[in-house]
Structure formats: C-alpha cells, structure tokens
Amino acid sequence: MRSLGELLNANIVCAGYADRPKVISDVSLSVNAGEIAGLIGANGAGKSTVIKAVLGLSRDIEGGIEWNDSSYAYIPERPSFYDELTLWEHLELTGSLRGIEGEECRERAGRLLEEFSLTSVKHDLPSGFSKGMQQKLMLIQAFLAKPDIYIIDEPFIGLDPISTKLFTDMLIAEKERGAGILMCTHVLDTAEKICDRFYLLDQGALLLQGTLEELQEKTGSRSLLDCFYSAVRSSQR
C-alpha cells in the first residue's frame, strides 16, 4: 500500500547476477518526500545490489519498483563520467537534458562549483581529477538537477571534511525542499545524524527497519552502530 508523499516503493523478492546465487531476497523499502532513508550494511551486505535493482540496472530481479512519477538523480559509489567532457560540459549537459533554462543552469552550476571549490578547474577534464574531486562532480551534477529523489551510494568516500559537511548540509536543505533521499553507507556516525529512517541489511536480507528510536527499542542499544551490531549478531545466532 502506497502512503501519502511516498516517492519510491520497492519490493524486491530477489535480485543478483545471472548464473549466481541471488544476492538479496525479500527487501522492501520506501522513500517519502522530505526524508532521508539510510540503507545500512557491512561490506558485501548487498547495499549496492539493492540500489542497482531499484534503478533498474540489474537484469536479474523479481519484484516491483514504483517510482510514483518522480524524477531522480543517482550518485554512484565509483564516480562515473565522460573522460572526454570537461566539468562544465557535464553540467551543461545535465542542465539541457533535464530541461533547466540556460541562464538558471549557468547561475546554479556556477554557485555549486564555487561552494565545492571547483571553479578553477571547470574547463578541465575530470579524468585528471583526484577521487574526491570526481566525487564532487557527481554531487554537483545531482544537486544541479534538483530531482524528487536522490539515490546515493556511499557518498563520503574520498570527500574531504569540508566537502562532507557541505554535502550533508545540502542534503538536509534538499530534504527540507521536499526531496526524498535514499542513501546507502557504512559511515554510521554521519548516517545517525542526518537520516530519518534506517534499513539495516545483512547478507542480502533486511534485518530491521525504522527510526533510530524504533531501532533502539528493538535492540536495546543506544547508538546506530550498537543497534546494527546487535541486529547482525542476533541474526547470526
């Protein structure tokens, strides 16, 4: 059943890769307008596979994904860009393809470049950038689009502390604008501060879900890390 303000509803019966055992099974999640949902799991828990299944990038999937006519932007774990286009060309491309007016696009892109300190390299090719700068390009592209939903896979890898702060502030601002955010990460300190709801994943299955208070109640732990640890431990017993 879809609730009011629900932007994304995913019921994944199973998903994975062809000719291999299924990586995830029975994972249901939803993202509402104006909330940040955190997908939490250890390495190899199946977080990225869930994201791929939600985005339709996985061929072997059983289940249903309802987008509710929402536009979305995806920030992958590994920066993905055109080696042949400059940073500015990427932003202009995003602007034109998403129907953002020329002047507005330039103004918004210029501001984002300024905030992420990339103005001086805007006419450079991103293949020569550091990992953090490439990650910033992905963030800027997503924020430029101002979509209804952000799907973010491990966004903090490679980001310096200033950019991490800037990024989390922007996410909160986007949440306040009414955007829904699905973020998968294992940086639990930051996730605990900014996420409204959590999906705890282990070995491809959903262990627990709910707000931090609900998780604390279910596990009897205090921090998100403790909640996750005790949920994983009790599932392994």
């Binding site: 995806y74 080696d83 042949e84 202009e92 034109s96 393809l97 805007k122 293949s127 020569g128």
Partner: protein, 386 residues
C-alpha cells in the same frame, strides 16, 4: 622468479588472451571450412604469382610496385614496444625493480623481433612484384627492407618516448614531427633506393641507435602508469576491432590521467549555439566521438577497409560496395551513439524522448554522409586515375 620467466609467462598470457578473442569470432568449423582452405588457396596463388600468373595478378598490377608504398606505410604506422607491465606490478613488484627492468628489456627485444618478422614477411610477400616491376638488384631489394626495418624501430622508439614524456602540446608535436621526418626518410629511401652497400649499413645503424635509445628507457620506471595504460590498450585493440560491430559487448576505455584539457573545443566551447535537449544529445555524441581515439579508430578502420575495396574492385562492383558502406557506416555510428549515451552518469534522464531519437537520427545521418562522401571521392578518383 627471474625476469625471463616473468616475460615468458606474460607473453603466454598475452597470446592466450588474443587467441580467446580470436575464438569468439572463428570456431573450429569456420577454421576448417573457410580459414584453412583460404590459406591453402593463398599459398597456391603465391606460387602462381611467382610464375607471373594467378587470379589476382591483374589486381596486383593495378598499383604494381606501388603496393610497396601502401604496405610500407601500413607497417610504419603500426607496431608498439611492449612492456608487459600490469597495474598490480606497482604493488607487488615495487621492491623488485630489477625484475621489472628485466621484463621490459625482454619485452623490448621481443618487440624488435616482431618488427623484423613483419618486414621479412613483407619482403617475401612482395617478392613476385619485385620480379615483375622492381628495377633493383636482389641485395638492394633485401637491403631496402633492412633499412625500412631500421626506420620502423626508430619510429617505435620515438613513439615510446613521446608517450612516456609529459603530455604537453610541445612534446607531442615534437614527437609527431620526428615520426614524420622518419617516414619521409623511409619513402625517400624507397624512391631513391640505390645499392645494397649503403642500404644495409644505414638500416643497421638506425636499428642500433633506436635499440640503444629504448634500452636506456627500460632502466627507468618513472612512466609506469603510461606504460601500463598503453599495454592495456594494445592488449584490447584486437578485441576492440573484433567486437567493433557488437551491440552487447563494450570494452573499457583506457584513461589518460595526464590529459587535463581537451584539444578540440577548449574552454567548453559549444558546437551548437542553441541549447536544448536535442542539441545536447548531438553535442554529447560529437564531442565524445571527436575526443575519443577509440571511437575514431573504429570509424577509421571501417572507412579504410571500404576505401581499399572501392579502389581495387572492378568498376561494376564499386557502386554496390558504396551502398553497402553507407549502410554499415550508419550501423557502426549507431552502435557508438548508443554506447556514448548509455552511461550511468545519465541515469535518471529519460532516453525514450522525441529529442533523443531526432538527435540520434540526425547525428547518424551526418556520419553516414561524411563516410559515404569520402568513399564516393575515392571511387571517382579510382575510376579516373587507376
């Protein structure tokens, strides 16, 4: 492990990979019924050419001794000095630099040997033409190939130096200038080929100089990343050619970290002044195409193959090849267009829009017209002058 053992191991893996790529196209039935009979026919034809007969003797006579220029140009433009370095060597062999240096030395010798084999094979292949059209003695003929081999190794050495040096415009231009001078030297030598007693020493001196230059380069590992990148590209080049027209398989592109600004359309200049989704799709396609050597190479190989066919085939067949090329070039361009626009960076952007299909159609037509016009010009010139 010794450097020699490592070299033979890498060489084995390299050729096993190429063999597997080959097997994706040609299975044993094709080999048995097409490749082997074709090889047997080629040997028979070669024997016929030696006697001044054979089915393709007439076609060979179209260019006559000019075939030497064509094949020499092709060989001089190809080739590569292997290093057989892998990315993982950085981690595992960093404490054993001498092993990598030895690996590079063996790889250098192997590359030079490969070049020698190529020129030797060309000398054998063109031998019947020399008997019919050549006007020099046999020692001079063989000396010419020795000299061409020397020029080739010198060009390979210059290319290696160019690729390993910093990717500034000056360095690249200087490298290409040296290559052009060497190519001009090689053709000057063919045209004015004289006596064996200066051709042989000239070839040997060129070879020794280039071998010494590249041998010195094997001592340093400062261009490790560039060497690994180039080795990867070479390893994938055959697969890229074979899978050029495949819809499902896309090979990874080597990334040059050193290149910071595009040469064409610098400072993010637009191709189309009007900004819309339609022009954005087209601009994306054309900018990526003209700045990506891999895609350009695919179109170049296709165009070169059809141009050669149009040049040598009889007049009646030329229009059919021209029409076929118009279709194939559009198909190849459509594959490139789909590859360019099917990237995770564009996820969230709908591609099933009117603008997308209009842009695709228009871009493919531009490529088709350019390729067809090129081949039409080649066809007209071949009718007029050949």
């Amino acid at each position: 492990m010794t450097g020699r053992a490592l070299f033979f191991q890498r060489l084995f893996h390299y050729w096993r990979y190429q063999w597997k790529v080959f097997q994706t196209v040609i299975d044993w039935t094709v080999a048995l019924y097409i490749v082997l009979p074709a090889a047997a026919f080629a040997v028979y034809q070669y024997a016929e050419w030696l006697n001044g007969r054979g089915l393709l003797n007439g076609a060979a006579g179209v260019l006559g001794w000019g075939w030497l220029y064509v094949f020499s140009a092709l060989l001089l433009c190809t080739g590569f000095i292997h290093t057989f370095l892998l990315e993982a060597d950085h981690v595992f062999l960093v404490h054993a630099k001498h092993l990598m240096q030895k690996l590079k030395r063996y790889a250098l010798l192997y590359s030079m040997f490969l070049s020698l084999i190529k020129w030797g094979a060309l000398a054998v292949l063109l031998f019947p033409l020399w008997r019919q059209y050549g006007d020099c003695t046999l020692p001079a003929y063989s000396g010419m190939f020795c000299c061409l081999f020397g020029f080739h190794t010198a060009i390979l050495a210059v290319h290696r130096h160019r690729k390993n040096s910093r990717r500034t415009f000056g360095n690249q231009a200087a490298g290409w200038l040296k290559v052009m001078v060497l190519m001009a030297g090689a053709f000057f030598m063919i045209v004015f080929a004289a006596e064996w007693y200066w051709l042989w020493p000239a070839g040997c001196i060129l070879f020794i100089c280039s071998a010494l230059l590249t041998w010195k380069g094997t001592e340093t590992l400062s261009a490790f990343e560039e060497e690994v990148l180039e080795e990867n590209r070479r390893k994938l080049s055959f697969a890229a050619s074979v899978l050029m027209l495949s819809h499902d398989v896309q090979l990874p592109n080597g990334k040059h970290k050193g290149r910071s600004k595009p040469f064409l359309y610098p400072r993010s200049k637009h191709i189309f002044t009007k900004r819309s989704a339609y022009t954005a799709w087209k601009e994306l396609f054309f900018k990526v195409l003209i700045r990506n050597g891999g895609y350009l190479r695919q179109l170049y190989l296709l165009t070169a193959a059809f141009t050669a066919l149009i040049l040598v085939l009889p007049l009646l067949v030329k229009p059919a090849v021209l029409i076929l090329f118009a279709i194939v070039s559009r198909y190849a361009a459509s594959l490139i267009f789909d590859r360019i626009t099917d990237k995770p960076v564009l996820s969230g952007i709908k591609r099933d829009s009117d603008d997308y299909f209009r842009a695709r159609n228009s871009a493919l037509t531009v490529i088709q017209v350019i390729c067809s016009a090129w081949c039409l010009i080649a066809a007209i010139l071949s009718v007029l002058y050949m």
